[in-house]
Symmetry: C2
C-alpha cells in the first residue's frame, strides 16, 4: 500500500531525533532546566548579528518579486560568484561560481551528490565513526555504503582502505572536523589518503571521487588545527558545505556543492549534480537565504563559547575518569562508554537526565557522542551528574 522502507525510516526516527523528541517531552514534564540534552547538533550560539541585519536589509531594499522569486536552479549567479571568490581567496583553490550549486543544506548536498554519481553496483566508503544519515542518503541513491575503521585518534585506517578499494567504489566520503568524534584530519592524513586514491584510480582506470562533507569546516579551536582544503590535494573532489553550524542557522537549510573544476569531466559532473537536484525535487535553494549566505560566507557565530565548552567538558569528563577523544573541532566529544553496551550506558545516564547518543549508530560500538553546542552553564551543572555516573561505574 505504501513503501515499506520509507515507512520504517519515518516511523523509526534516527536515534538523535528520537532523543531530541524525548528531551522536548521530558522538559515539559520536569522543566527544561533539569534536562541536560547533549543529543543534537543544534547550535546554541546565536547567528552572528550580520545574519539578521542582512535579512532586514534585503527585505527593506530588494523588490519583493526579485527577493522571493525563483533563482536559477543552481542558485543565483551573483551569490555563486561571490562564494567562489571567497573560496579562492580563503583556500587558494581555483574555482568559479559555475562550479558551485546552492543547496537546501548539508543533507541535500549529500543526497544530490550521491544521486549524481551513482551508477549500477556502485559503492561509497566512509570511515567510522560517521554521521548515521549517510547510510540513508547513500541508500537513496541506490548505492552500497562500506564502513571502514579508524585508528584510536579517529584518523582513517589506511590498510583497510587499500584493501577495500575496488572498481565499484565510486567515492570516499570524509567528514572533518568529524561528527561524532570531533577529530580533524591533518594535511598529512589528507595527503596519504589522496595518494592512495590517486594510485587506485589509476590502477582501475576510473576516477574515485573524494567527497568532503564540511559543515564544521570553520569550527576548530586551537591555533595549530587547520582543516586542509581537499581541492588542493586531489582533483576528483567534491565539497559538500552547509552554513548550518558556522552561521548557526540549521533550520534555514542553506549550503552548497562545489565540484572541483580540475575533476575529470568536471562540467559533466556538475550537470549531473544539477540533474540530481532536479530529480529529487529541489528546484532552487531558498532565495532569501542564498543572499544571506553570500553576504555572510566565511563568517561565523561566536565560536569562543564552543571552545570554552570543549575545554570545560573534556577536562571535566577526563577528571571523572572517562576516556575521551580530544576534540579538535566540530562541537562533539566522543566518550568511551563505561560498559561494553553503549546503549545501556546511555540509559543509565538518562537516570541523571543526561541525554547522550550511543555510538552504535555511528558505527562505533562502545562509544557515546556528547554534543556540547549548549550553554556553558549546562555543562557546569551537568558535570557533577557525570561524576555520579562515573562513580556508579567505579571510575
Amino acid at each position: 500500500m505504501f513503501n515499506e522502507k520509507m515507512y520504517r525510516l519515518g516511523s523509526k526516527r534516527s536515534t538523535i531525533r528520537e532523543i531530541f523528541e524525548y528531551a522536548k517531552k521530558r522538559s515539559a514534564e520536569i522543566g527544561a532546566e533539569n534536562v541536560f540534552d547533549f543529543s543534537i547538533g543544534n547550535p546554541f550560539v546565536p547567528a552572528p548579528a550580520i545574519v539578521n541585519q542582512t535579512i532586514e536589509r534585503l527585505v527593506k531594499e530588494t523588490p519583493s518579486v526579485e527577493l522571493h522569486g525563483y533563482t536559477s536552479a543552481q542558485g543565483d549567479k551573483s551569490v555563486r560568484d561571490r562564494i567562489a571568490e571567497n573560496y579562492v581567496r580563503r583556500f587558494g583553490a581555483q574555482l568559479s561560481g559555475d562550479d558551485i550549486y546552492m543547496t537546501v543544506g548539508a543533507a541535500a548536498s549529500l543526497t544530490i551528490t550521491f544521486k549524481a554519481l551513482t551508477c549500477e553496483d556502485d559503492e561509497f566508503i566512509v570511515f567510522a565513526p560517521y554521521f548515521p544519515e549517510y547510510a540513508v542518503f547513500v541508500a537513496n541513491a541506490g548505492a552500497k555504503l562500506t564502513v571502514l575503521p579508524s585508528d584510536e585518534h579517529m584518523q582513517p585506517n589506511f590498510t583497510a582502505l587499500e584493501k577495500a578499494l575496488n572498481p565499484h567504489v565510486k567515492g570516499v566520503l570524509i567528514n572533518s572536523p568529524n561528527n561524532p568524534s570531533g577529530a580533524v584530519y591533518s594535511a598529512l592524513t589528507i595527503a596519504r589518503l589522496t595518494d592512495i586514491l590517486r594510485r587506485k584510480a589509476r590502477e582501475f582506470g576510473a576516477p574515485i571521487y573524494l567527497i568532503s562533507d564540511e559543515p564544521y569546516r570553520e569550527l576548530v579551536y586551537d591555533e595549530n588545527t587547520k582543516v586542509p582544503c581537499i581541492m588542493n590535494y586531489y582533483d576528483d573532489s567534491i565539497v559538500c558545505y552547509s552554513y548550518s553550524k558556522s552561521l548557526s542557522l540549521p533550520g534555514e537549510r542553506i549550503g552548497y556543492i562545489a565540484v572541483n573544476p580540475k575533476a575529470t569531466d568536471s562540467k559533466a559532473v556538475y550537470a549531473a549534480v544539477c540533474g540530481a537536484g532536479r530529480s529529487l525535487g529541489f528546484v532552487c535553494a531558498p532565495a532569501l537565504f542564498q543572499r544571506v549566505a553570500a553576504e555572510c560566507d566565511g563568517m561565523t557565530a561566536d565560536l569562543s563559547v564552543y571552545k570554552r565548552n570543549r575545554d570545560l567538558l573534556y577536562k571535566g569528563l577526563t577528571d571523572c575518569g572517562f576516556t575521551c577523544v580530544y576534540p579538535d573541532g566540530a562541537f562533539y566529544l566522543f566518550l568511551k562508554a563505561a560498559e561494553e553496551d553503549a546503549a545501556a550506558f546511555c540509559e543509565r545516564a538518562k537516570k541523571y537526565e543526561l541525554l547522550l547518543v550511543g555510538g552504535e549508530d555511528f558505527g562505533a560500538k562502545g562509544w557515546v557522542r556528547v554534543a556540547y553546542c549548549v550553554q556553558t552553564e549546562r555543562i557546569e551543572k551537568a558535570l557533577p551528574l557525570f561524576k555520579k555516573l562515573a562513580e556508579e561505574y567505579g571510575l
Copy 2:
C-alpha cells in the same frame, strides 16, 4: 563515471527553464523592455505586505537560536497546528497538525509523496496537459507515469481513466487549477472522478490514492469558480500544497503535504511521508518561512492583477483569431498553435520576442502555454505582436 540519467536531466534543462535562461540572455542583448517573456510561472505580483512584515517581526522578536534552529522533521508543531486549524475552518475537512508535513515547496511535496507511496511496479496516472516535471518526480520514485487525455474543456477523460486503472495504479495525480491549461475541475468532475476511483479500489482490494497538487488553489478569478476540497470527496487523498504562487514567494521553497486522516492506515502513510522526506535529504522545511507560512496561510498576493491580465489576454488573443481555453484559474492561458507543430509556432513567435512554451512537454501536442503572471503593461504591448503573428498565419 557518473549517473547518465542525472547528467541528461541536468544538461538538458526543462523547456521552461531553457526559455527562462534565454529570456535573461536576450534581455541583456536588446533590453528587458523588448522581450515578452510568457514562459515561466514566476509571479509578478509582490508578496502581500504581511510576508515581509512577518519576517521583520520574527527577526526582531524571536531569539536567533529558536528562530533559525532545527524544527521537528515534519515541521514546527505550532506551525502545523495553525495551518490545520485554517484548513478545517476554510474547507470543512477534518485535519490536525499531525496530518501535515511541511516541505520545501511543491516539487518536494510531490517527490516525497511519490517516494512514500511507490512499491515495485507501481504506476501513477495524470491527465494531459500536465506539468512536465511530474514525469521527473515519478521517475525518481521508480514508478511509471501514465498520461491520459482530457476533453476539449481540459476536464479528465473518464472513459480513458476507467480503461487505464489496473491493480498497479498506486495513485491518480490531479492539478486544478491546472498548469498549463488554467482549467479548474468542478465539484461534478471531482465527484465523478472519485466515484470511479472508489469503485475500482474496491474491485482491486487496495487503495488508489488521489494526489492533488494545489499550488494554484487560491488563484481563481470568477465568483462562480470554486476549487473543491478533495478531502471532502475522497478518503484516500493527499494534498500537496505550496505557498509559491498564492503568496508570491516561489524562490523561498515552502509548502506542505496533508495526508487525509480518513485515508486507509493514514498514520502509516504519514510515517512513510516522513521517511521519504528523510531519505531525499530534506531534514526540515526552512524554519523562518515555516513561521511566515503559518502567519500568512490562506492570504494571497493581490490577485486582481492576474484577473485583469487574464481578461485582457483572453480577449486580445481570441480577437486576434487564436483558439484558447478559457482560463478559470492559475495564471496560464492555453492557446492552440496556429500550425500543427507547436514548437515551430513558438519559434515563429520568438521573432516577435514573444516567449511561449510549446505544449509538447505538457503532453498536449499543438498547444502552447502563455504564462500571464507578468505586468499588465507587458500584455498590452505584446498584443499587437500577437496580432502580427496571427496575421502571418492568415488568422
